[in-house]
């Protein structure tokens, strides 16, 4: 019996080289855990952060090696069609790994300041990044779900990891309950799609739609698609599935919030793009209106709700919902190519990718500043706590201003190029109304960023202020320097990044 089993089962051939980014990250996470368990006392301070950063950089390097290979040889399936190595997947890998790198830089001093120093946070960040990469690479709904759960479970723990703040616990529980709920939606959607098509493999599903006659079980198909979109809507935090966002973002340790807004969002978007484009492109006229509605609601709800907040973390949480709306405008555009047939708007696809990368760096930098201004206790996040920051910490205030202006989409920042690309894609697809709506929501959101800038520059510090001065540790300084340089340099010379996103979209396998 045992013999028979082994002889009939032949595992898929494994292309180990293609998996190197994942292997490096997994190895790194294990080493950190081991080191934390065995020799925590012996390590100098900052060792974990430094090691995490090194792992991230190594993963970044091999990702670019793989990128070159994909650009030359074209995309390919690995692990028996379970995952695919292509441009968009590697692009999102870069986003996620860069997020790990920046998060590690911001975590270093934060954990020591808050008395939370330890190996777990770094290991969890890496593990959650691995989950995100699996999501971005998956070409099978089950693998996608595995990635999603790896990402989410690590994030639930991270959100609750500030032991001394009750809000952090609340944030973790809330995220866990609602996240579990959305995973259930997603999984049920997968089940229904399996019922409708007989496969969870995206390419097989698409093929089934093209060759077979899906008319008989369209009900199943639509119900499954709707459930999948709900699951994704929750993960990308698109309105009206955003309810958890402000509370979780506010409660989570601030560097973790940055990671949530960057890597987690990028992974979920990568998966969403792959599913709707690869498996369901045939039905784009059915899901496009849903994306349209999600985009418009997210744009305006995010912008308007952000204005009325007084807590900067909540402001940025709501503004991140508005940014999701912008990315969804790009998603809507890619399905809206006026020409008939299976041609997608590569411009729409690449604009969404570009936005994810630009926003990831900008938002990580922004939450990096918030981390520092939050001071010990991670509690000073009211708008008043920023008053007069330009006097006490002019460079920090200037950095935050540039990052906020980038979020607002002011030219000569990478944020403008991101918005410009998305609006280009929408206009190219003749979605004029949503393009104008998106720009108008950007004006509303600009008011929010101006409020923070006013607080930093144009208001005097409160007379009776008892707050300790803001400290800028070296590691966080490096992180902010990277974010600032990225924002400005690619704002002036976006050529490289535009081509990067364009090439990624061009290698998408349908």
């Amino acid at each position: 019996m045992l013999f028979a089993q082994t002889s009939t089962f032949s595992g898929p051939p494994v292309d180990w080289f293609a998996l190197t980014p994942l292997l490096i990250l997994t190895g790194g996470a294990l080493v950190i855990m081991l080191a934390g368990a065995l020799m925590d006392r012996l390590l100098p301070k900052g060792a974990y952060a430094l090691f995490t950063a090194a792992v991230a950089i190594a993963a970044l390097v091999v990702t670019f090696v793989l990128w070159d290979k994909v650009m030359v040889d074209g995309p390919r399936q690995v692990m028996g069609d379970a995952i695919v190595l292509d441009g968009p997947g590697l692009f999102i890998t870069v986003v996620i790994v860069a997020s790990i790198l920046l998060s590690a830089l911001f975590l270093d001093d934060y954990l020591r300041r808050e008395g939370l120093e330890g190996a777990e946070t770094y290991a969890l960040i890496i593990v959650s990044g691995i989950g995100g990469i699996v999501m971005a690479w998956s070409s099978d709904l089950i693998v996608l779900f595995l990635g999603l759960e790896t990402l989410s479970l690590a994030l639930y723990v991270l959100a609750a990891s500030h032991l001394k703040r009750i809000q952090s616990q609340e944030s973790g529980i809330k995220y866990f309950v609602l996240g579990g709920f959305s995973s259930a939606f997603f999984l049920y959607g997968v089940a229904l799609e399996y019922g409708a098509t007989g496969s969870t493999r995206l390419a097989v599903m698409a093929n089934f739609f093209q060759t077979g006659n899906p008319a008989s079980d369209k009900g199943l198909l639509y119900a499954g698609l709707a459930l999948l979109l709900v699951g994704f809507g929750f993960k990308i935090a698109a309105a009206p599935f955003h309810m958890w966002t402000p509370d979780v973002y506010e409660g989570a340790p601030t560097p973790v919030t940055g990671f949530l807004a960057s890597a987690s969002k990028a992974a979920a978007f990568a998966a969403l793009l792959r599913v709707v484009v690869v498996a369901f492109f045939q039905f784009r006229d059915d899901w496009r209106p849903v994306i349209y509605a999600l985009a418009v609601i997210s744009l305006f709800l995010g912008a308007v709700m952000a204005i009325v907040q007084t807590n900067v973390k909540r402001m940025l949480a709501y503004s991140s919902i508005s940014h999701v709306g912008f990315i969804l405008v790009g998603v809507e555009a890619l399905a809206n190519e006026p020409t008939s047939g299976q041609t997608i708007s590569r411009l729409g696809y690449s604009s969404a990718l570009f936005y994810l990368l630009a926003y990831a760096v900008i938002v990580l930098g922004s939450f990096g500043v918030v981390t520092l201004v939050g001071r010990t206790g991670d509690a000073d996040h009211s708008l008043d706590d920023y008053r007069g920051l330009s006097r006490t910490r002019p460079v920090l205030a200037f950095t935050f201003t540039v990052l906020l202006l980038a979020q607002a989409g002011v030219p000569l920042t990478v944020g403008f190029v991101a918005k410009f690309n998305v609006i280009s894609a929408a206009v190219d697809a003749k979605s004029y109304v949503i393009a104008i709506l998106a720009m108008l929501s950007a004006v509303i959101a600009a008011f929010l960023y101006l409020r923070i800038i006013v607080s930093m520059y144009l208001s005097d510090p409160p007379e009776d202020s008892v707050l300790p001065p803001v400290r800028v540790p070296v590691s966080a300084g490096i992180g902010l320097g990277i974010a600032l340089a990225f924002t400005v340099v690619f704002g002036f010379l976006p050529n490289v990044l535009v081509d990067f996103a364009k090439n990624a979209a061009d290698t998408l396998t349908l």
Binding site: L405, P411, F447
Partner: protein, 511 residues
């Protein structure tokens, strides 16, 4: 005409470099920072004057063109050029900035380094907007000027400075929102017609490949942004707040140069880019312009605050420019261009003078000021000249532009001109009335010690007053350079629409 020296690029980069240098200077060296700021502004002014001298007045196309690929994937270029329409706006900007710097430096009472840096960045942005010949580049400059202006009003302004700064930012950004979509639609529709993806204004404007009915919408998208900037009647409400609360130099630049971004936009990205649509929409914009003339004048007459009065007078003066632009005759457009320069000079000077009054008396309430002529006759004399130029007294610069606009527009928009002409009378009414209340009479206790015009202030005023007389008496050098480009623009409109310029006496030539 291509010179080896990248003159236009330098004109933009010199102030930008100045901002960078200022950023690197130590914060407590206030005098050094101020000096460096003025020196960079003067260097820019020198470059613009060199541009004026080197400008070939017989040519009607773009000169000193500089074109380099910027974002290849999208067909975006660093593309600059100057013609008769933008030439004097560039020179005006170059000349006005050092004067605003020097004359308005009392407002730079704290954080001089940041103030100087923002001013120089603002100058680079404004010059870039006038020189850009690439839609993307234009948008970038058009939008980026908001940031320094926002900080200048918010940081160094008076009264409700933060409210004014935010309102200014959001109003202009709303206009830009429409423009960005329209701009991209223009580019992509052009690509759909021709297969070429380019942001080059000259290419898109020359080809006119987009269907006329579509261009009407595209024009409207651009026009909303420009109408906010000018500002045209229903979209003007940001202007009084921004002008009144801005620091003196901010007001000078705002009124002198930045409002022209709107009227210049109408010429370059309205008439030139969408000739047919501009002709089609002309009645609407002429009407809004004329409403602006009358409405601005009435509002100005009602103001108690001297600076607010000058701000509303801008609404009226800019109405003339819009009228001239959309009346589409050689005289009216040339007059409009001249009026842009004239308004920059006279309103810039008026804001400086009002700023100095505020500096002395810490109030701008007309009721609080009285009899200044007795105690400060030279100050009053200069104010009289500048005010009369703003009124449009023949022999001073304000007259030439307004007169050309009115006679030019009379051919194509007769009854509007009849209404607009009353605006000239109203201008005399509100300015003379204000002058009478502020300067005539016997000074009361508070005004008895009003200091006379200082030497520095006099030196700032000398070039402005000289320009007021020179442009009023001998505007020919300007018209000679403006008209070839204007004629070409009108020929362009005629070639691409059913509009024909009416000819009077077979020869149409102003001056």
């Amino acid at each position: 005409m291509d010179t080896s020296f990248p003159l236009l690029t330098s004109i933009i980069l010199v102030p930008a470099a100045g901002a960078l240098v200022v950023a690197l200077l130590p914060k407590d060296q206030v005098r050094l920072v101020k000096l460096v700021g003025i020196l960079f502004a003067l260097a820019t002014a020198a470059l613009t004057i060199y541009l004026l001298i080197d400008f070939d007045k017989s040519a009607d196309g773009f000169q000193f063109v500089s074109q380099h690929v910027w974002i290849e994937a999208l067909g975006i270029d660093w593309h600059l050029g100057v013609d008769g329409i933008s030439l004097f706006l560039v020179v005006l900007t170059g000349v006005l900035f050092p004067l605003a710097f020097w004359g308005g430096d009392a407002d730079a009472n704290h954080d001089v380094k940041a103030y100087t840096g923002w001013m120089l960045l603002l100058e680079a942005g404004v010059l870039g907007t006038f020189l850009a010949l690439d839609l993307f580049l234009f948008f970038v400059f058009f939008e980026i000027v908001l940031v320094p202006m926002y900080f200048l009003i918010g940081g160094w302004g008076h009264g409700q400075r933060i409210y004014a700064a935010v309102k200014f930012f959001l109003f202009t950004m709303t206009g830009s929102a429409f423009m960005l979509v329209g701009l991209l639609a223009t580019v992509f529709l052009y690509r759909n017609e021709t297969g070429v993806l380019t942001f080059d204004v000259t290419v898109i404007a020359t080809d006119q490949a987009i269907a006329a009915s579509t261009t009407r919408w595209l024009f409207l998208a651009f026009a909303i942004a420009f109408a906010v900037k000018v500002p045209l009647f229903p979209l003007h409400t940001w202007l009084p707040d921004a002008h009144t609360n801005a620091p003196t130099a901010g007001s000078v630049i705002l009124a002198g140069v930045m409002l022209k971004l709107g009227t210049y936009g109408f010429l370059r990205y309205g008439l030139y880019l969408f000739p047919d649509a501009a002709h089609w929409w002309a009645p609407l914009f002429i009407t809004l312009g004329v409403i602006g003339i009358i409405y601005g004048a009435i509002c100005a007459a009602m103001q108690r605050d001297l600076k607010r009065l000058v701000a509303y007078s801008s609404v009226a003066h800019l109405g003339f420019i819009v009228l001239g632009t959309f009346a589409l005759t050689t005289e009216s457009i040339s007059g409009g261009v001249l009026q842009m320069v004239n308004h920059g000079v006279s309103t810039g000077a008026l804001f400086l003078l009002v700023g100095w009054i505020y500096e002395r008396r810490h109030t701008r309430e007309i009721d609080q000021l009285k009899g200044l002529q007795r105690v400060a006759p030279i100050f009053a004399g200069v104010f009289t000249i500048v005010m009369l130029s703003s009124v449009g007294l023949p022999g001073l610069n304000g007259f030439v532009g307004e007169f050309l606009v009115l006679i030019g527009s009379f051919l194509t928009a007769r009854w509007w001109v009849v209404v607009a002409a009353t605006g000239v009378i109203l201008a005399a009414l509100y300015l003379l009335w204000a002058y009478q209340r502020v300067f005539h009479g016997v000074p009361d206790e508070a005004n008895r010690h009003f200091p006379e015009l200082r030497l520095k202030e006099g030196l700032v005023m000398v070039p402005l007053v000289a320009l007021i007389f020179f442009l009023g008496i001998y505007p020919k050098p300007l018209l000679d350079r403006v008209e070839p480009s204007v004629n070409k623009l009108i020929a362009h409109v005629e070639a691409h629409s059913d509009y024909r310029q009416p000819r009077v006496g077979g020869e149409a030539s102003g001056g």
